[in-house]
Symmetry: C2
Subunit: 226 residues, 2 copies
Amino acid sequence: MKFFCNYLHESPLFAGISKNCIPAMLGCLGARTLECKKGSAIISIGDRAENLGVVLNGKIQMVNLDYYGNRSIVAEMESSQVFGEVFACSDIAVMPVDIVASEDSSVLLLNARRITQVCTNACTFHRQIIFNLLKIVAAKGLMFGQKINVVSKRTTREKLLTYLGTVAEQAGDDTFTIPYNRQELADYLEVDRSGLSSEIGKMCKEGIIRCHRSNFTLLHKQPDCR
Amino acid sequence: MKFFCNYLHESPLFAGISKNCIPAMLGCLGARTLECKKGSAIISIGDRAENLGVVLNGKIQMVNLDYYGNRSIVAEMESSQVFGEVFACSDIAVMPVDIVASEDSSVLLLNARRITQVCTNACTFHRQIIFNLLKIVAAKGLMFGQKINVVSKRTTREKLLTYLGTVAEQAGDDTFTIPYNRQELADYLEVDRSGLSSEIGKMCKEGIIRCHRSNFTLLHKQPDCR
DNA sequence: AAAAATATGTTGAATTTTCAACAAATAGTG
DNA sequence: CACTATTTGTTGAAAATTCAACATATTTTT
């Protein structure tokens, strides 16, 4: 168990908690580690939605199984990332998705109730971990909100400009590099890659943007009309 | 202030907290009420993202202003609903959207820090409100996740079937009524209303679904292949 | 430096969506 | 019940997207 505390220290769930305290906390929270062979289930659809986890090493996937039985990968998580927290903190009874190991992995599993209900011995860092959990869940909401903003647009051009606009705002600069290649950008925008490439080509010709690979410049910004 | 406690009691933020305790809590949390004329700003883009609110009466909107200056309504909230909590609980510094009153409204504003940091006099219900806040933020994440699942699909048919599939699962029945009319459903799926109507018509002819107004039946379910 | 692998751009045909305009059905009102 | 307003369905043309197939560019490997 102690072996993992270095990883955990980097996880947002344990941010601001000193390495030394983590082992005691894990005991207090009833945490358990799980070694998962590639392909094995960590949490299954229908399980009670009460656990959240931290990836210690390896890689895991969130897999959705829809009404018609089609499986689709909803998200992937790697070392130090937290999973299952949105389900465990909401009041749904059972898991609507599978969590599976896509590589040989080890994960730390925690019961959400034990986190949200302050323990009897009121350990010092309990408040911090609740605070961290809230921040993680809120951050995910923010991310989702941004993505909805983007994919709600009807055309590839609008989707792209919406996405690039938020990146430009965050960068505080009209020229910036996005963290995606073309295929990844197309996946994020939920459009066809080749269609995206050709649309980018058009927009460059029209002088709306400049683009080389993952580096973009937004031109034609309206004079600030706020 | 006391006047509002009846409303607040119905808000998910104060769930499980007895009416009598709410006035004391509001004091402890430094809550303040705001009377907002239609069209006036409650929280503005660029304000520090530290407040969350509860609509006491009236109606408010979350309005996004994109890079190019286009305004769009992202969400609407009515009595007893909570707003701003995702921003205030994440660690972004400033508000990326405006919150405005779309009708004459009154709202309760609370500082998120005062909620997340247990107060010195450790009032009994403080833990409950943190727990409620976590649940609210998580529920919003769930909602967003479901919507992303839906609007990520490329065709109107897939979007509709994805949405109907989740409703059928939640209803536990292949026949169910959705809480939207055609226009609202089209808005949720982010597609053209008339196109949606005609697609529904086709799907009925093909025997995939049955539909009358907001009442749907899913046919052709695959034998359970889990 | 050449070869192989990967990423990006380009094109045209088929499919799908949007858009506008209107028809039909339903709900609401006096 | 008749009238009006609202919602839903239908249609065809225009616009946009997907898809497949291939060309070009860039990166990685040997």
